[in-house]
């Protein structure tokens, strides 16, 4: 039986196999988003000495509230999608999709496992950068098409913020490219092999911090969520959206969070490499590379996103701009020079 499955699998044309993996990754990401919303509410609940959602479903009395995301999805699906009469109807309908597509498309080049990546392309890092920068169009168009002052303010804020933090993010990744000597994400992970002392988080620590901060800003998450800013501009760019159209924005935001967490792990924490590789060797069960290590790192950063949201008050808009342009970008520029010197003198992992 297993032989039969394996043979059929090998006989399939390569595009069928890629399509299969695309489906697997997409469905996994959507399901992860559902449970991420639950996890977020639980984590923030615990941080605020509450229980979080615990009414909907349980598995043998354990994990109460496990089916809360599905209840939410069904509720959103059944709600009416209100389209404002003075809005630009076509752009209003298409904007949620434009936000969502890049959030999923970027997964094509993320290496999940030593052997598993949907598209192993050489310019993978550039591909990821360009797709994350396209995601902002959905936000801008949603804000403009809704024909509402609040939505428009949110869109303008988001546009300026994303463009500013993209530069810091790009410079941080220039450091990663300099250290790894390649734009291929799988090769970037392989360049960090040989124990956790070779991970870029140690050698590029300032760039790691900059990337983490600009990752939060790029996803419009708290404390950088001025595009939504409930207390100032109601709900920002998606104030006019209801039902499943709103849910698509929600889905895109969480998919982007998971993506940024995975990318942080890939760029700075050795992706699917084991942290014990240097101590135990890669043949030991704990030192073996695999998807579980990527998942553990991803989960840690994802939880950090929630932690920030529970901890920090929202940034003031002019201070966001100041942080991006006057602090993060100079920090990256200085560290790129330091990195250049380190590579030239062959310090640490660059020793010949």
């Amino acid at each position: 039986m297993t032989d039969f499955i394996l043979n059929t699998w090998a006989a399939l044309p390569s595009y069928a196999r890629s399509t299969f993996w695309i489906l697997v990754v997409t469905v996994t990401v959507i399901l992860s988003v559902a449970f991420t919303t639950l996890w977020e509410r639980k984590v923030i609940g615990w941080m605020q000495l509450r229980k979080g959602p615990n009414r909907v479903g349980s598995i043998f009395g354990l994990v109460p509230g496990i089916f809360q995301p599905f209840a939410d999805v069904i509720k959103l699906l059944l709600k009416e999608v209100v389209i404002p009469s003075a809005s630009n109807k076509w752009l209003f309908r298409i904007a949620p999709a434009i936000t969502l597509i890049p959030a999923f498309a970027a997964w094509a080049v993320v290496p999940l496992d030593p052997n598993l990546v949907i598209a192993d392309i050489d310019a993978g890092l550039l591909y990821v950068l360009s797709l994350t920068s396209v995601g902002v169009y959905g936000v801008i168009l949603a804000g403009w098409a809704a024909n509402s002052k609040y939505a428009f303010l949110g869109a303008m804020r988001s546009a300026a913020q994303v463009v500013a933090y993209e530069i810091a993010m790009g410079f941080a990744l220039v450091g990663v490219v300099m250290a790894a000597g390649t734009l291929n994400l799988g090769d970037i992970v392989r360049a960090q092999a040989g124990g956790s002392s070779n991970w870029f988080v140690i050698w590029l620590f300032p760039l790691f911090v900059v990337y983490l901060i600009s990752g939060v800003a790029e996803t419009n998450r708290a404390p950088f969520d001025v595009a939504e800013g409930e207390s100032e501009i109601v709900a920002g760019f998606h104030v006019e959206y209801s039902g499943i159209a709103f849910a698509l924005f929600f889905l895109a935001e969480y998919a982007n969070m998971i993506l940024i967490s995975a990318l942080t792990a890939v760029f700075f924490l050795g992706g699917w490499l084991s942290p014990f590789e240097g101590l135990l060797g890669s043949s030991h069960p704990l030192g073996e590379p695999g998807f579980h290590w990527l998942f553990a790192k991803l989960f840690f950063f994802l939880t950090c996103f929630m932690w920030y949201r529970a901890t920090f008050p929202r940034y003031r808009y002019d201070q966001i701009m100041r942080l991006g342009w006057k602090i993060l970008i100079p920090v990256t520029l200085v560290w790129i020079v330091v990195l250049g010197v380190m590579v030239h003198l062959q310090v640490g992992p660059w020793a010949a």
Partner: protein, 207 residues
């Protein structure tokens, strides 16, 4: 065959999008058509295996330049009628420039030709050929001086843009964040005894 179908499909979309840029009544639609044009030209570049240029086109023009374009176009209250009057006035100049551009392209591709035989299909590069690496090697060896020169021109442009927009206006009160952070409670709050309104005794409850 598939490549040719894709080529003609993308080319048709590209031409339609380029027409949309100049034909659309709503300037926001024009900007969005330009975004579509960039995307389809990136797809065309992917077809000729120039993946680095294609992705950078999306990254720079779609991801940054057009976002700012849209930003500005949405903020402006553009009177389309006024612009249309301008179009007829400058039509002659426009046609002249269009013909000049076409003539130059024809001169380059037709007469010089770069030794490319257009009737032959494109020779495919081996799978392990890295476009990015090849581009980097040429840029930093053969074309290093033009490359550095372009970088200097851009730097000068940045400095010029900043000096043009950063003007010192009188009466401006910029924030000094370091000073704000360094402030301690003792600098701002002073507890004074015995001044201020006397607090009323607590109101008696109704019950």
């Amino acid at each position: 065959m598939l490549v040719q179908l894709l080529f003609y499909g993308f080319s048709a979309i590209l031409i339609a999008a380029a027409l949309g840029v100049i034909v659309a009544r709503n300037p926001v639609y024009s900007a969005l058509s330009l975004v579509l044009a960039f995307f389809t030209s990136a797809a065309l570049w992917l077809l000729i295996e120039a993946e680095f240029l294609a992705i950078v086109l999306v990254l720079v023009y779609v991801g940054a330049v057009m976002v700012l374009f849209l930003f500005v176009v949405m903020m402006l209250d553009i009177n389309v009628e006024e612009i249309k009057r301008g179009v007829t006035r400058y039509a002659g100049l426009g046609w002249f420039i269009a013909f000049a551009v076409i003539a130059q392209m024809v001169a380059v591709f037709w007469f010089r030709g770069f030794g490319i035989d257009a009737t032959q299909g494109m020779a495919l590069l081996p799978a392990d050929h890295s476009n990015t690496r090849a581009l980097g090697e040429v840029l930093y060896t053969q074309y290093v001086y033009p490359f550095e020169l372009a970088a200097m021109v851009l730097l000068v442009a940045i400095i010029a843009a900043i000096t043009l927009t950063m003007r010192k206006r009188p009466g401006l009160k910029p924030q000094d964040v370091a000073k704000q952070v360094a402030v301690r409670r003792e600098d701002r709050v002073r507890l004074v005894k015995g001044v201020g309104p006397k607090t009323d005794p607590a109101p008696e409850s109704d019950t």
